[in-house]
């Protein structure tokens, strides 16, 4: 800027000052960008904080009306009746039953598929199957809900379970199970592939065959990752909403019998939200209390899964 008529010395000084100025503004700009990017990262932190605050705050409002003890131990959930009762156990029982059915389907099948893909399948098969499994994960769950209510339930009624009611916990459990297979398969496969080749080669050198290698060498080495896959899949099954909202029925029913209809935590939240609920009413707050229970259940599972996964990452 000041390069001009005043002679060479000041011109040089001017250039240096310019340089410094430029460096300073460049530095400022860099700092500003860094802060902006950090802000983006903090959106995740704020989201978690907001979820916690909103759920706890609204639930506290709910517990002004309902004692926590009745909430945790009550076996009748009829918040929308004239004489409302707020016992969360029926919803928890429904959620657990469906999750257990889903896991009974998904854990064995998902694990076998993972072992097959990681230890047995030729390269080309894996290259085709993995994207196919990813596609299953991508199907909107409402499509599976339609399938459960209008295809699987009638099919079971027409064949092996003639007495099956139109809404029941068995079918959504089975369908969630199938929908969860890809999650377990691909996460466990990742864990098994992380086991170093040298361990398999050691086993082969000792005369082990593929089965022995898979079950006595690879599985024990990958076990924490595989269990983490189960745990994360269970968390997903617990949080699954649309399949149960469509196919499991909407009445909170304290039962573990899969042939009966029963609402889950998620189905209850969806059901209440579909209706008109006054902001701030007990019914409105009850969905936040149900959401808090749901969040705690999934959080425990997710944290467990997180630590298990970290263990297998650290091992090799």
């Amino acid at each position: 800027m000041s390069i001009g008529t005043n002679g060479s010395v000041s011109a040089v000084g001017g250039v240096a000052a310019d340089r410094l100025n430029y460096k300073f503004s460049r530095h400022l700009k860099e700092r500003f960008i860094e802060l902006l990017l950090m802000g983006c990262g903090f959106v995740a932190v704020f989201t978690t904080a907001a979820i916690t605050v909103i759920l706890v705050y609204e639930s506290l409002g709910f517990f002004d009306f309902v004692s926590i003890w009745d909430f945790i131990t009550g076996t009748v959930w009829t918040p929308l009746f004239a004489n409302p009762q707020y016992g969360i156990l029926p919803l928890v029982a429904g959620t657990m039953t469906i999750t257990v059915i889903a896991m009974v389907v998904a854990v064995p099948m998902g694990t076998v598929i993972a072992i097959y893909l990681s230890e047995f399948a030729p390269h080309t098969v894996r290259e085709v199957v993995k994207p196919a499994l990813e596609l299953i994960q991508a199907v909107p769950t409402i499509v599976f809900g339609y399938f459960a209510l209008l295809f699987v339930t009638p099919a079971l009624q027409g064949s092996i379970l003639p007495g099956l009611p139109g809404f029941n916990m068995l079918v959504p459990g089975l369908v969630i199970g199938v929908a969860t297979i890809p999650t377990i398969a691909s996460l466990s496969e990742d864990a098994m592939r992380a086991v170093p080749m040298s361990m398999r080669e050691g086993s082969y050198a000792m005369g082990g065959n593929k089965i022995q290698t898979a079950f006595m060498v690879v599985m024990p080495a990958a076990i924490s990752g595989v269990v983490a896959a189960f745990v994360l899949a269970a968390a997903r099954a617990i949080g699954e909403t649309m399949i149960v909202a469509i196919a499991a029925g909407q009445n909170a029913n304290f039962t573990f019998n899969p042939l009966e209809a029963a609402a889950t935590l998620t189905a209850y939240i969806a059901q209440v939200s579909m209706g008109d609920l006054e902001h701030g009413s007990v019914g409105y707050r009850s969905i936040f209390a149900a959401g808090l229970v749901l969040l705690i259940m999934t959080l425990v599972l997710n944290v467990t899964g997180h630590f298990l996964r970290r263990r297998y990452r650290n091992a090799y």
Binding site: M38, P140, F147
Partner: protein, 317 residues
Amino acid sequence: MTTMTSKATGAQTQNLAEMRARIKSGIFRQHIFAFFGILFTSFAVLVLLAAFLDLLFDGIPRLSWDFLTSFPSRRPNEAGILSAWVGSAMVMLVTMLSAVPVGIGAAIYLEEYAGKNWITDLIEINVSNLAGVPSIVYGLLALGLFVYQFGFGESVLTAGLTLGLLILPIVIVSTREALRAVPIHIREAAYGVGATRWQMVSNHLVPYSRGGIMTGVILGMAEAIGQTAPIITIGALTFIAFLPPMPVTAEFPFLSLQWIWSEFTVLPIQMYSWVSRPNQDFQINAAAAGVVLLIMTLIMNGFAIYLRYQVRKKIKW
């Protein structure tokens, strides 16, 4: 002497036979296991196919131009999904505009700027934690925060921001993977010619990894478009017989933001409301809406898989 050797060879052949039998049975078991592997894999894929075909058989006959261009109606054969797919498109737009810049920004921060300190740990823990939060909980967050605290109401904006938060972890994780795949010498070369960190990121890292970033963005959008539960929770209506105001208008300044405040419905909500009616004609409508939804997700996912394949094939550093 001779008897002893013959005894030994006898034992040896017996051992050999035993060993062969054992190897044979091992191989047999291997085949059995591989058979089960293939069986279960095809079972999972076949169930998906069954779900898909069931939907197609029920829905395809109902699909028509009228179905795509009509509003929902009390009469099932006059009903259509016009407001639903327009709503979905508008919500997706808000989701993309909110999640993509924030997600990529957060990923760049975590990969390129963050030091090893508690702030970084905090962000990372929260990102991985958010990936495991059930989608309906995001709906509760939006109901409490966006709808009532911020007063956004049951609008396109609320829904778009909710889904934006929901897919944020997907965008962050895949962007980080894409950035990590760029080798360190690219960074060093940029610094070597005097680039600042931001110049290095914006001129080199992001352009070189855009294939991977795009893949993540598309996967996130595909996830968002099928999400039903959080949108139900914020109280989206199921019967919308009007379109939100269009973003492009005839008068100056030609762009209008009115649409983000509008009430709306989306495809999966429309499908849900039809599925839960006892009238079978409505369930056929649900199937047809489901076909449209499924085709949209499959196209997006197929494109993402293709893109990733291309990226993997092309890049040789």
